[in-house]
């Protein structure tokens, strides 16, 4: 069960080998998390993340393999993760995502479809299963990784940003639908984070490390804010950026 400070004991991480997910898992284990179920596509990386969780204080870890390009795998992957967790799951983190290569993907129908499947359709299918299970236990939290790129979609990353925008808006509705069920959903909108996913990209303003994101996520879990921005400053930056006239917006973001 989650305690008064929003510290969970039992956690399922979908996309559990990503750098951000690992940074968050470590911090959760250092607090109260004792059961960590990591789901992802790479067994080796998941095992590494699981060992790390044990080092940081978890007493039980397990892994589940799935392929986010196969949207029919979502429900079974969630079911497996919940079964391995045992009787009660306090927190589900949805950190599945693929940045892709916009220039290459935008002219390739199969690649564009894959971007939608991994960043939107698979997560929505999985969240549907998660929602059912948490509502049945009348408690629990869902943390969904969106992106600042979802707030206003850029021309130079419209596949990733567009899929995340869909997920972001859908989750706002899902969060409202959960009121009164005992379950809650929070969105995380990080800026650019230095990870293996963004390796090689040029650094834009408000780029942070994974630990800073994890820190902000933990603060957000404690406060219960519906949207967690990282860094928090982005909330104010985007309050302006999202309303810029289109020509100005294009100049600012796609230099």
């Amino acid at each position: 069960m989650e305690n008064a400070f929003g510290q969970p004991q039992s956690v399922v991480v979908l996309g559990g080998s990503s750098d951000i997910a690992r940074a968050i898992t470590k911090k959760l284990c250092a607090a109260r998390a004792h059961t960590i179920i990591l789901a992802g596509r790479n067994q080796e990386l998941l095992d590494e993340a699981a060992r790390e969780a044990l080092d940081y204080g978890a007493s039980k870890t397990d892994t589940v393999i799935f392929d986010a390009e196969d949207v029919t795998s979502a429900s079974a992957a969630v079911a497996k993760a919940f079964d391995k967790a045992g009787d009660h799951v306090d927190l589900v983190i949805m950190a599945v995502g693929l940045l892709g290569n916009q220039l290459r993907d935008q002219s390739d129908v199969a690649a564009a479809t894959r971007m939608m499947n991994v960043n939107f359709t698979w997560p929505v299918a999985a969240l549907t299963e998660v929602r059912n299970r948490l509502v049945a236990q009348s408690s629990g939290r869902i943390l969904v990784f969106s992106s600042v790129g979802a707030v206003r979609v850029r021309g130079s990353a419209y596949l990733y940003g567009g899929a995340k925008a869909g997920l972001d808006r859908l989750c706002q509705g899902m969060a409202d639908s959960l009121i009164g069920t005992g379950v809650s959903l929070q969105l995380v909108r990080p800026g650019v984070v230095r990870t293996k996913m963004t390796e090689g990209l040029s650094e834009v303003p408000f780029t942070t490390g994974v630990n800073e994101v994890a820190q902000n996520v933990l603060k957000g879990l404690a406060s219960g804010d519906q949207v967690i921005w990282s860094p928090p400053m982005l909330k104010y930056a985007f309050a302006i950026l999202r309303h810029l006239p289109a020509p100005v917006w294009r100049k600012v973001v796609d230099r």
């Binding site: 069960m1 989650e2 305690n3 008064a4 400070f5 929003g6 510290q7 004991q9 607090a31 109260r32 004792h34 009660h88 049945a136 236990q137 009348s138 408690s139 009164g180 069920t181 005992g182 603060k219 404690a222 406060s223 219960g224």
Partner: protein, 444 residues
Amino acid sequence: MTRERLYGWGRTAPSISEVLSPTSEDMVAQELAHATSVIARGLGRSYGDAAQLSGGLVLTNRSLGGIGSIAPDGVVIVGAGVSIDELLAITIPLGWFMPVTPGTRQVTIGGAVAADVHGKNHHRDGSLGDHVLEMRLVTPTGTFNVSPTMDPQLFWATIGGMGLTGVVTTVTLRLLKIQTDKVLVDTTRYSHLDDVMAAMIASDDDYRYSVAWVDCMTKGASMGRAILTRAEHATRRDITGDSLVAPKSAHLRVPFNAPRGLLNPVTIRTFNEIWFRRAPKRREGEEQSLGAFFHPLDGVSDWNRLYGRRGFVQHQFAVGDAQSETVVRAIERLSSSGVPSFLAVLKRFGPANHGVLSFPIPGWTLALDLPIGPLALPGVLDDLDEMVIEAGGRVYLAKDSRLNPEAVRVMYPRLPEFLDIKNRIDPQHKLASDLARRLHLVGK
């Protein structure tokens, strides 16, 4: 049956449960037979998640009422859902008082037994369990009369057992004879923690009631300044008039959650300062009503809303007599962390009873009210846990909302014994609460 969002008095970590208010023992037994997970709830005054059960069934005991006639020796049978407030309204005019009362009258007798509550007289009279003669207990495997001689194992597992051994329906307890509705209070102000602790060790035994309020927000020379109040029931010889009137119910209320940040280091420091300066340096024999002395916060209902939407945690620990240094270190840790805390309550505990999970151990106990918010708070309390464990002490489960299960196993070494007894009367592990799940008290 209704679906309700429940939380404890600290208003943290709410969860949704089915809530039902059984009107008879048979109905309780039926529900226990059919439910998959169930816990009893009284007036919701435990601070954390002890009386809620997400996705399960919560049986409120308020319809299990009834107060029997009081025998000449003060023995009375009370329905578990009767509040101390309701009981005192009947008994005080007849010259009887609760043998032990916590800081509020707004708790049910059943809840008070489950938490084995203590009061300002623990050093003399022990906790409530010491004054319970017998109970009716409905468990998943049957309904039993339990007492220190009838199934003493189950009796002492239920005293302080956080409701995890079943639903108490009636309690037989022995009341305390009083001659008036007043207490005579001696108040002394101390500017150092060491002085007040020395005074409590030296002369608490001279008083039935004793408690100190400690300021945990001052640093340096005045760290841990305190106000010590000690009292005795006034007899007819002590005062003019022999009125026996029960305390009145609250006439003030907090109608909505206070805005975030109302209670911050500045306002709390100011409150503590006023509280401290208002107290006399020394005053003896002041006449106070029972309500004013025992239940000062009952004058304002819903005062927990002052802590705002995010609520607060209460933290109470106990350590042995030889570990008074731990109390000092804990207050130092708090005052240096800058985490705001209202006046803390410091008191001495007498001998422990046989309650398997009962909180009091002889020595010291310190209770703190801490608003949720400061990022340092979870870590500071984890540090206090470490100090308390090192000192062989423990944290009070009725107030807890953030302990970890490993710490509880060390703090309550008789936990395996408790789980054995629970397993005997609840082999299917139906009796559970959010607290029990969080601290691994359900049994496996």
